[in-house]
């Protein structure tokens, strides 16, 4: 009798776990970094889901006329921003209202978009998919198209074990891919680990940065994830009030989420509307372009005082935040082999 029960228990064990070979890649939290904000328990990383998310990220099937993919505005070689476009370009060549931010270290994000309108990474993709200036589709139709595709319906089945794809599965796989976009191998990181030393200029720039910038652009992620007004004058044609659109509260007028400065070398143009082309222009803004207003950050009331030499040092430091391994990481690039492999199988 006892033997029989243990056999049944064993069979049950095999049934429940045997089929599910676990591919759970560890989430790489770099040494000395805070714990991620993303709740991985609700969406545990899985290599199949990551790869599916990567395919979705690169596939224009997410747009109304299959012309635009996420990567149209977030391309890897510019640290996943829209290079050379101040305001992002979407479907039918339509121009959006904001500069597309670089995508990296999203697991640490508390809110998304320049004004924090999105409360969770999972829900981010709904915005571009539905925006009439961006992909101009809707998640229901996207799910319909994916379900109809023999390739995707199989991939969702293997990744999530579902025959009927739901919107949540699409969003969670996109999150999985985006969560893997971790940039932590810059010269700055290597200096921190003691592997290399800064040049004199970089070191002086680092000290100036800690003095003047790091209260907002907080190490090691180079953002405190707060909303701040850094003194940009209001663009009359865009009239973007920033965080106030979300909270409808006057104290949040003209405040934007502090962006990371990692890979800043690759992500020009700068600011929410892409108004500056170069880091030199950005520093000139902080030195003599600050626009006074009631919500301006107290730290910036008198501008930041930097001599031309100091300015050059700060730029030298900012360039240590470039992470070539990130920008050229083949795991983040167009998943050519996955698309080809699955096409072959579909034949």
């Amino acid at each position: 009798m006892k033997k029989k029960t243990s056999i049944i228990a064993f069979i049950l064990l095999v049934i429940t776990f045997g089929f599910r070979v676990n591919h759970t890649p560890e989430f790489p939290t770099p040494k000395g970094w805070p714990l991620p904000q993303y709740d991985f328990r609700k969406n545990p990383l899985d290599s199949k889901k990551i790869e599916l998310g990567r395919m979705l990220f690169y596939d224009p099937i997410l747009s109304r006329d299959s012309s635009i993919s996420c990567t149209s505005c977030h391309s890897q070689y510019s640290a996943f921003t829209h290079v050379d476009h101040a305001l992002s370009h979407g479907i039918d060549g339509k121009i959006g209202t904001r500069n597309s931010p670089a995508l990296m270290n999203l697991a640490w994000g508390k809110s998304f978009m320049w004004d924090g309108a999105i409360n969770h990474l999972d829900m981010q993709a709904l915005a571009p998919i539905s925006n009439t200036l961006e992909m101009d589709d809707n998640i229901k139709n996207v799910v319909f198209k994916l379900q109809r595709s023999a390739i995707y319906s199989t991939l969702f089945y293997t990744a999530f074990g579902v025959k009927k794809i739901q919107g949540a599965h699409v969003l969670k796989s996109l999150s999985q891919f985006m969560l893997t976009l971790v940039s932590s191998n810059s010269k700055y990181d290597k200096m921190k680990q003691g592997a290399i030393k800064f040049t004199e200029a970089e070191h002086r720039g680092y000290l100036l940065f800690q003095n003047h910038c790091s209260s907002c652009h907080k190490e090691p992620l180079f953002s405190n994830y707060q909303f701040e007004n850094n003194g940009l004058h209001l663009d009359d044609s865009l009239l973007d009030i920033g965080r106030m659109r979300v909270t409808q509260h006057a104290v949040d007028s003209l405040k934007f989420k502090v962006p990371t400065l990692r890979n800043i070398e690759f992500t020009s143009p700068y600011m929410h509307d892409g108004r500056f082309q170069t880091l030199n222009q950005v520093l000139n803004h902080y030195i003599k372009g600050i626009m006074p207003s009631s919500t301006l950050s107290g730290i910036l009331k008198n501008g930041i005082n930097l001599s031309p030499n100091e300015k050059a040092d700060v730029v030298a430091f900012l360039l240590t935040l470039s992470d070539k391994e990130f920008v050229f990481n083949p795991q983040f690039s167009y998943p050519k082999s996955s698309f080809q492999k699955n096409l072959k199988q579909a034949d």
């Binding site: 969406n43 409360n119 739901q166 949540a168 599965h169």
Partner: protein, 260 residues
């Protein structure tokens, strides 16, 4: 799922099993814990036989008639009429009380009621056989924790059209239609009520008396709801804010149970 009137044996069992596997390595312990849950699920299905099914029925009505969407025009008064195209709302956190004593709380209680899908209007509840109740409580809308929990499936899936895309958050209540009272494009009105961030919370808690019975019937008379609005001025609310809060309060007040 069974009610969570935890019997002592349920708890004891769980403790015991966890102790028994304490010595095993972590990986196996995880599997074993799963097995226990698996067994418990079996055990609870047999347990649920002591439960009974109750039907919780939502009836959107107009002047005491079951609501029909599209095609039908209802008279508001001598000259004005109204047609409805969409009525969808979330009912969540359903619980039953005997006076102030909780006797049943539905697990994972999120339901999208959609007037265009007859099946969505009836919610089967599995309550303990012996439970006596005279009050029902539920929320009209989705709580703030769920609003910040990322992508969720089934009735909460964003393909249901009840999630804002440009700014995160569930739409708790959606009513669309047209009336000659609205001086808008195609005489349309649209109410998308939601908002979970303070101070614009649009979730509304509803408490209604009910008869102890095998079915609970709750009416939502749209004629009475519209009588509290002036469609000529209030005809479009699409974002969280004070307007949405005010109309959510008005909508919540019109839910009526079959007992006076």
């Amino acid at each position: 799922m069974p009610a969570n009137t935890t019997s002592p044996s349920y708890f004891d069992n769980f403790q015991l099993n966890l102790c028994a596997i304490n010595g095993l390595n972590l990986r196996f312990r995880f599997k074993a814990a799963n097995l226990i849950i698996f067994c418990l699920a079996f055990w609870s299905t047999s347990y649920s036989q002591q439960n009974k099914k109750i039907e919780l029925q939502f009836n959107p009505t107009f002047k005491r008639q079951s609501l029909a969407l599209d095609s039908i025009y209802y008279h508001l008064n001598q000259t004005d009429s109204v047609q409805f195209t969409v009525l969808k709302f979330y009912i969540s956190n359903i619980s039953l009380f005997a006076d102030s004593q909780l006797v049943f709380r539905e697990e994972n209680s999120f339901h999208l009621i959609d007037a265009s899908l007859k099946g969505s209007l009836m919610l089967p509840l599995s309550v303990p056989q012996s439970a006596f109740f005279n009050t029902i409580k539920f929320n009209l809308g989705i709580d703030s924790t769920t609003n910040v929990s990322g992508a969720l499936e089934n009735d909460l899936d964003p393909t249901k059209g009840m999630y804002w895309t440009w700014q995160s958050g569930y739409i708790n209540f959606k009513l669309e239609g047209n009336s000659n009272q609205c001086k808008t494009r195609k005489n349309e009105f649209k109410f998308h009520l939601g908002g979970y961030l303070a101070p614009f919370e649009a979730l509304r808690k509803i408490t209604l008396p009910v008869q102890h019975n095998d079915s609970i019937s709750i009416d939502f008379p749209l004629d009475l709801f519209l009588s509290k609005l002036d469609l000529s001025v209030e005809n479009e609310v699409m974002i969280p804010g004070y307007k949405a809060m005010l109309i959510a309060t008005k909508a919540a007040a019109e839910f009526k149970s079959d007992t006076p």
